[in-house]
Symmetry: C4
Amino acid sequence: MSVLIKKWEELAAVKEELAQRDWFFATSGNLSIKVTNDPLTFLVTASGKDKRKRTSEDFLLVDAFGNPAEQTHLKPSAETLLHVEVYTKTNAGCCLHVHTIDNNVISELYGEQGEVTFTGQEIIKALGLWEEDAVVRLPIIKNDAHIPTLAKQFAKYVNEDAGAVLIRNHGITVWGKDAFEAKKFLEAYEFLFSYHVKLLMLTRQSAFVSN
Amino acid sequence: MSVLIKKWEELAAVKEELAQRDWFFATSGNLSIKVTNDPLTFLVTASGKDKRKRTSEDFLLVDAFGNPAEQTHLKPSAETLLHVEVYTKTNAGCCLHVHTIDNNVISELYGEQGEVTFTGQEIIKALGLWEEDAVVRLPIIKNDAHIPTLAKQFAKYVNEDAGAVLIRNHGITVWGKDAFEAKKFLEAYEFLFSYHVKLLMLTRQSAFVSN
Amino acid sequence: MSVLIKKWEELAAVKEELAQRDWFFATSGNLSIKVTNDPLTFLVTASGKDKRKRTSEDFLLVDAFGNPAEQTHLKPSAETLLHVEVYTKTNAGCCLHVHTIDNNVISELYGEQGEVTFTGQEIIKALGLWEEDAVVRLPIIKNDAHIPTLAKQFAKYVNEDAGAVLIRNHGITVWGKDAFEAKKFLEAYEFLFSYHVKLLMLTRQSAFVSN
Amino acid sequence: MSVLIKKWEELAAVKEELAQRDWFFATSGNLSIKVTNDPLTFLVTASGKDKRKRTSEDFLLVDAFGNPAEQTHLKPSAETLLHVEVYTKTNAGCCLHVHTIDNNVISELYGEQGEVTFTGQEIIKALGLWEEDAVVRLPIIKNDAHIPTLAKQFAKYVNEDAGAVLIRNHGITVWGKDAFEAKKFLEAYEFLFSYHVKLLMLTRQSAFVSN
């Protein structure tokens, strides 16, 4: 079953890189990678693990409903249902969700308007938009403690094989055709967030002062 | 005496992770882990060591009064009395104290009001609060150079098996049932501090300008 | 062909150092090093690679037009034409282009005036300016999605064997006589950017508020 | 001559730790450690090296005038004269000079008043001041491109076996009885700088706006 091993290694490598940036504070974040299409199975991070460590229990295989596809004592990440939406509605092969200070700050600053847009930044090309005046439009949804409700809100924005959604005061979820692409998109968004937060600190208008 | 070895390794692993984040500037910080219940003994960091290094003299075993429980030339951390309060008043198994820029900044900004509260952040779930509108209330106590006095103030807030106290312009002390939980709580608090500091930079009100 | 190996190693070492600082978000950035003068050939980063990894396909050899100088399935970085300008117009031996949050922020703050100047900073000596009142004048050019147009704008400022140009909301391109010098210059500029951004946060004038 | 080897190793270890924090941008910074008292000799960083690397040419032995005490092609750091002042006027055993963003920012913000003071911070105890209301008074001197002039200004504040001086828009020089103490002091100051910069961003008064 070498495809499972290969996908496991791919996801473990991404996890390790993101862990080096310290993007899994307090066991937050969850990652997945598709293994088979028919029936749909994917590897997803086990719940409550310290993601800075690499162990043989970091991931487990789940089915199209997010339930374990094998005998295991491991529990899939609490937010596995969001990954289910990605794999059932698109052809994406990998989905990454992380909490960072800057994605949380951006999600709060623009939470009320339901989206944040970026334009005029070279890094936007990494998202596959090559026109000079391309606008990146990133939806921001309300965080809901009830995961099925959150997944339903999230699903509204899952229409293409690559995409991203920001969950207010929670984190970003990014998906793409494979681990390489999903990670590239994630890095592009985080660069945009950090840039924007810093620029706002220097140029911000009164709009935020009343927040 | 394998339990001692096991606990030593656990605490050494936590120390190494926190050191990677550079949370022990100028030999600051102190860590402990419970070894036995009856009589109470725990390992605590030796005083004045460079915590970025891993040596066989990083910790020493102390008793319920914070005195060495074995023949040693090592001195327990100056603030061992605070750890004593945690282990004598609760069932906690690990206690971590670190100085970070952001926990110091938060402690100063909210020092006069004696506490800081957080709400509406996903990361709060890592503290075991799962309701959407859960409020985290973190007490801030005055820093006192006299450790027994500081320990007494601190003890007022040590009532549960897991908790945290911020000492003004000093650092945070967090405890939990084991090293994994204490570290998770610590990371959750530091995430909240960093988020809050950054958001305040963009939205702060005049309240702080007069500080 | 040991000179090729030597140059490959030099460039790989620089790439590794910059990757440790996380200066290649979302596969951004491109690096080159001259191998031969007559005919001109240089190694340049292959397009679309994850620059945090070290592989035998990280670079490829190109000619004076930026075309592959050998049979290869690799594509030279999209911005290879800018490197061509450096090697055809000067005696530089190495050219580095990176996107960082702070160089993007500076490029936006001073983009309209077409340059940013620094003076009175010790680190300026690393740029080869030893007088106390030396002024560093760094041109900022408009980012153009059409690389030949961008290269033409860029070429206007490529007149000496060492230099740098900031591309608005894109990144900095630095060149010098060898990898050591180019990296030293890059670090000096990034120090100046980070210092300046932080100082502006504390002392900024209304000029930027209207940005 | 094992004392030389021992001191070399001590200094190399400090260099490596500071390099991990990226405190040697653009080959900046210089470090030294005393080897013998009579005659005075000390190891000092060779000029123009990349301090992130560890080589057998990182340091050279110099005498009481800062001249090489051995046959060598290496040049002592340009600022060796400041280290000479430390070893001839005090019993210090180690002296560290680094450029950081935050020490440069603080040096500029308080440069006109010639000193910066800190009080009410726990980390001050690391500087050997244990009273609750202890005040740390750090002189800030003008940066002078002429090193003998700079050394003369610097020498005015070199009166005790441990101490520190901030050079405006240049960096901090810290000395102590050995490498461990000097590094501890350096970390304490950098913590104070970073804390103060961040707190000022949230609470700054108009004083700086006119800077």
